[in-house]
Every structure is written in structure tokens, then in C-alpha cells.
């Protein structure tokens, strides 16, 4: 039997790694991957709480998070393609103007 706090600690580690990548990484695609890592960490805590309190609704929330992640990655990657087309760079330091 694994205590709930172990799962929450793992979820927190994954979320912290996601935040670190979001802040430290300079490549816009890697920043997006870090956001996905954060969403995965939150999903783990949802499932752990669902098992802990015997509430299946926690697992349903995971599906909604996945749907939002899918929509977000589709739109976000389209924005990345548009940014790459106009600026020809993926470095976020060089993407500092809304209009070219």
C-alpha cells in the first residue's frame, strides 16, 4: 500500500520540473513540452485523490484536462508555426514584438 502523500510528492516533482522548464528553457517548443509536463503532474494528483476518496469524478476531470491539453497543443503548435514563418526563429527571446 502506497500512501497518498507519495503520489502527491511525485505529482509535485513533475509539476516543479515543468515550471523549471517553462522558466529556464528558451526554445518555444520545449516550453510547450514543459506545459504538458505540468498538466501530467496535475493529472496524477487528480487520479490519486480519486483513488483516495473513492470519487470517480476525479478520473473524469483527467479526461477534461486531456481534452484541454489536446486543444491547447493544436492551437499552440499552429501559433508556433506562424511565429516561425514570420520570424524564422524559435527562440522566445527574439519573439518580443506582437507585430513585425
Amino acid at each position: 500500500m502506497v500512501p497518498l502523500s507519495y503520489y502527491l510528492a511525485l505529482s509535485g516533482i513533475l509539476f516543479a520540473c515543468g515550471v523549471a522548464g517553462f522558466l529556464i528553457k528558451r526554445n518555444i517548443i520545449t516550453i510547450f513540452l514543459s506545459i504538458e509536463l505540468m498538466l501530467n503532474g496535475v493529472n496524477l494528483s487528480f487520479v490519486a485523490f480519486a483513488a483516495h476518496w473513492h470519487q470517480l469524478a476525479g478520473q473524469i476531470f483527467v479526461f477534461f484536462v486531456m481534452v484541454v491539453a489536446a486543444a491547447e497543443s493544436a492551437v499552440g503548435l499552429a501559433i508556433i508555426i506562424a511565429v516561425h514563418r514570420t520570424r524564422e526563429t524559435l527562440n522566445v527571446d527574439q519573439v518580443n514584438l506582437l507585430k513585425l
Binding site: M1, Y6, A16, L33, L56, F63, V67, A70, A74, L77
Partner: protein, 174 residues
Amino acid sequence: MISLHLVLFLAFGAVCVAGAINLLAQTHPINSALSLIAVMAALAGEYLLLGAEFVAAVQVIIYAGAIMVLFVFTIMLLNAGVEEHTKGSRVAIMVGVPGLLIGSVLMAWVILHRSGTEAVAMGALPGDPRTIGQLLFHDFLLPFELTSVLILIAIMGAVVLASKPEAIQKRKEH
């Protein structure tokens, strides 16, 4: 006493943490993407340990399958190279690392002091597709329908954003 459950949790958790750290350590986006796929596969194992079989299957099929394929294709399409560092990245590290440390300490404190530590029995929760489906299409029907609208908007937004400006201009003229 060490149970099999704990051993499996630690094994999958080690893969998760190693993949997450590898995501940060790699400089090429394709390596980061592949290590994120490893994290997602190991997380599916954790979901199985928590009795959420359907979530584990969806995690592998949708997340590690569909969403990450989208990422890998974009990396290939844009021919993304190794990350370059400029003056702004030093600022990001100087602000980011202390902020991350403070956040981690706060999170660890909350987890250690504010969460119950009762054990979770393996298979205590029915996470099979039948129960999930009943819940999803009965209790959560309205949010489910709303997500379909969200997906539709996302598809249209992605098509409009990713298409070439000349193509949009041409469509307007017709």
C-alpha cells in the same frame, strides 16, 4: 515492510522523474519530446497502480500517441535546432531557479503537513470503461458536450493560424 505495490510505484516514479529531468537537461527539442513520451508511459503505469485502467489506456493512446505525435511532427516540420542562449536566458535562470526553489519548498511543506497518509487498496476503485462511460455520459454530459465545441473551435483556430497568409487572401477573393 516493502510491498510489491510500493516497489512498482518507486520504479515507475523513478522513470517519471528521470524523464522529467532529462527533458530539462536536453538542448534539442526532439530529445525533450521523446523523454516526455517516456514520462507519460510511466505515468500510465502509475494510473494502473491507482486502479484507473481506462485513464491509463487513454493516457497512452491520446497523450503519448496523438498529442506527442503532433509535437514531434511540428519539430520535424520546423527543423528545430539546438537551443541558443541570449542575455534574456540568464535573467530567466536568475529569477527562475530561486522561484522554483521557493515553490518546491512550499509544495513539499503542504504535502507533508496537510495530507492524510491512509493507504490506498489496489483495485479498490472501479475505473473500468463501463463506470467511466456512465459517469461521463450521464453526470458530466453538459461539460462533455461543451468540450466538443472547444475541440471544434481549436480545430478551426489551428487551421486558420497555420495556413499561409496568401492562402487566406486567395480564399477571400473567391
